[in-house]
Symmetry: C2
Subunit: 161 residues, 2 copies
């Protein structure tokens, strides 16, 4: 697996990953009806660094990193990760998160925060905890899950070495 900065020519591959995740509306607070242009404008936004994970030349995952806040909060970064539905269970999410933790340290960030992890996304919660994140907040009923209704969202945080 190779994780590298995303290039312009990765955009359609990235859309093939993030489109279904956005449309499912089960894990991210993005409008499920976003079209390709809107979704890519978000994922490749000027506030973000965007990466892809590829195996044998095929892009199977992508993540972004950005400052979570401006001003006095800019030493804490935020990331979002998405993996191709074709490639779940292959450790791509874990590898991207590990890469991001290293990259965040190299960028001088002092911590990483996930603002909104849907509590029913248990696999993700367990993975983030295994990678050193702590649950520092719980937002009651903050996510309207398409099939489960109102469920809690979690705030996760990790101070970097």
């Amino acid at each position: 697996m190779m994780i590298r900065p995303a290039l312009q020519e990765d955009r359609s591959a990235v859309w093939s990953i993030i489109g279904p995740v956005i449309q499912a509306g089960e894990t991210y607070t993005l409008a499920p009806g976003m079209n390709e242009t809107e979704a890519l404008a978000y994922w490749f936004g000027s506030d973000k660094e965007t990466f892809v994970a590829e195996i044998e030349g095929v892009v199977l995952g992508t993540y972004f990193m950005r400052p979570n806040q401006a001003g006095g909060g800019s030493h804490v970064c935020n990331c979002g990760y998405m993996t191709s539905a074709l490639a779940t269970g292959r450790g791509i999410g874990r590898a991207m998160c590990e890469h991001s933790l290293g990259h965040a340290t190299s960028r001088g960030y002092r911590a990483m925060q996930f603002n909104f992890v849907v509590s029913t996304n248990e696999r993700a919660v367990r993975l983030w905890q295994a990678l050193g994140f702590e649950i520092v907040g719980r937002l009651p009923g903050a996510f309207d899950h398409p099939s489960l209704g109102y469920v809690d969202a979690l705030v996760l945080f990790q101070t970097l070495a």
Copy 2:
């Protein structure tokens, strides 16, 4: 006191309130170096409804309301409040927050969340708690205070009736 939607002609009064707060950099995670155009573009952003509080025709406070997240998180709103340094202690923050809670309910929001309340802003924390907010998260060292250094930030949440 009257609280009403902000108009174009309120922009310079709003800047006179938010400019010093932003430049102080002690309570909001906005870049302290934002200029008037940038600050007003933020405060009057198209994602926001913006209000002012006036006493005897003088604008002494302002707040915004927006969805805190898109998609499955859009039933939770977020607000930011600022009061003129000339008018602290006159109940303007409290009145704006009470107004916002009513407005949020009328808009159909099911909850209100403050993502980043600087823990050293004790007066604000007490006020929000008195108005029904609960501390649902603590972000360790997430705010670089200009004089106090790294201090915690709090996540506050209130489910609306």
